[in-house]
Amino acid sequence: MISILIIEDDVNIAKMIKATLSIVGYSGTCRYDGRSGAEEAMKGSYDLILLDIMLPEMNGFEVMESIKSCGTPVIFLTAMQDVADKVKGLRLGAEDYIVKPFEALELLARIDVVLRRSEKTRDTITYGDLTADIGRHIITLAGKQVQLTPKEFDVIVYFLQHQDIAVTRERLLSAVWGYEFEGESRTVDIHVQQVRRKLGLKDKLITIPKLGYRLESQNSV
């Protein structure tokens, strides 16, 4: 289980991040000031640290300096949009930089990127009799390999990583295609239909009207 340390002085934001992490099954631990955050980071073994910049006691940059030795990847969270701040954070060794306010899925997407980079995400995901080997780019259904286009593969992997979450077309577009698609959500629909057909997910990968799609998890009925 992935465990993430949240160092954020606003209680509600920390709570929100923790709740967001819990929907993909990551566990979150909250610390509300720089000093105790830095101590916790050195003490515990975390896969990732989400670090606010404006913190009491010690600011985010100072925390970053003091926890460098533990090698845990860090994503900065900040309300500042200053480029100089961003550069400073990244130069200190942060993996990424998220500007508040952010959507839940954007946070998760950024976390996934960082975790994948540090090889902390699971390489294979099993979903019923479906197995996705992300490293080798192979998907098998009941032991038989299924031919998918690279984009179709990315789509199903994204759903597998975000089970039980309503994914909007826009989110899927920016996650799989990597850019903001204007008025081309048909592309998403076509890929989702292909995935459904090829993998027999008609009942599981459901359409949510006006919103997008959701892959129901195996244990839900």
Binding site: D9, D10, V11, N12, I13, K15, M16, I17, A19, T20, I23, Y32, M54, P56, A79, M80, Q81, K100, P101, F102, E103, A104, L105, L107, D164, I165, A166, V167, L211, R214, E216, S220
Partner: protein
Amino acid sequence: MKLWQNIFLSSLLLMILTINIVSAAVLSSSHKMLLEREQAHAVNEYEFFAASFSNAVIYERLRADEVILSEEQVASTAKELFFGPDNDTAHAAVFSASDRRLVAGSGFDELMELGEVQDHISGYSPDPDTCQIRIFTLGKSRIMTVTSAMTVEGRDYIVITALDVSDIYAMRDRQRDFVRKVSIISAAIVSLILLVTVIILLRPLSRLNIYTKAIAGGNYKIRIRKKGSIEFRELSGNMNAMADSIQRNAARLEKTAEDRQTFIANLAHEMKTPLTSILGFGDLLRIKKNVSDSERMEYAGVIVEETKRLRSLSGKLMELVALGGTETEMEPVALRDIFRDLEAAFAPQLSKNGLTLYTSSEEITVMADQELLISLLSNLIENAVKASSEGKRIALNARHNGDGRVLISVADEGIGMSQEAVEKVFQPFYMVDKSRSRKAGGAGLGLALCEKIASVHGAELSVTSEIGKGTTVSLLMKEVEPS
């Protein structure tokens, strides 16, 4: 044109002009003197010739032993006289006075060709007592003539003698040329000396110029060293004073801009923090498949709480903005009435928190905008409530300060704050304890707003505090004299 060029050229011109005028005066007076001498010389010569002529005619008549000489005889006598051994250089002519006919002449042929000379002779009215002196220009030479009438042996004659005075004129021209040259050279030398002097004198000016340029270029820190003449020292002093004032103003403007920048940055931060929670929890409610009742209550609760925070922030902001823009309506306000209203307004909140508010006011009236004054005092009481724990007291007092002002104070027995915090407490968005303030729905704008209201009223706001003992906020404002 530059100043030194100006001074150089004008002094050069002035010098040349002066030297020329002076020398022209000197030259003309010396020329006149020489001319007078020549005139005397010419008159002598004339008299000598006239006497010779008269003697020769008389002598000839005696020799010829005649009563009267014929005109021919006179003419030949005159010719003899002209060409005689004594008078080889004589330039003279004798005319008969009656018909202006030339009786005899020597060295006068060229002169006679001049119309002027002819007019002179024909227009001459004979007068034996005076002699007329004229100067004629003949080619390059000047000829001075002396003309007079004389009677010899009963006949009237006009006699003219001529004297070449070219030398005098030539000398005058030579002298004039010399003076001209000398004037130009000496003027050039003097001007050059002047130029060097001026450049040396104006050197502080170029130094001032460099400094002024530096100041104009934005380097407000430099100051000019006071050097040179009194005028330059005074100018340097004034320029330094100017630089001082520019530096002060620039610093003030910079500070204002910086404050505004900080304000906006803080505002953005204060808005984004609640927005992050609202967006995050809203998104969770939207995308999560199964949301339990307790989760939904929690998420929605946070959204409502944070939205309230934003509402309070925007309300305070609007008040701040409105304060800057609108006219305030000052009217006499009785503090006792206001205190009574405040007591009533805060009663529910106070009883909920288990606090007691004591108010006391003398009979005091102040000039104020009632709405704003209430808003200011409400903010202070609210702060006191936030800082106080159950069972504590809050005191709202007003009394004469003795100097025509009223001291209104709000004192609590709450948690108090450090000296460091007291200094920052009027800064917008400053919160002594962020999490506490946020829980109480504060945006960190309350005291900034109070200070603004105080300044609109020309009042002073001050804070004293001690950790664990409480905080007192005092407002000193002008009192209306009871009429």
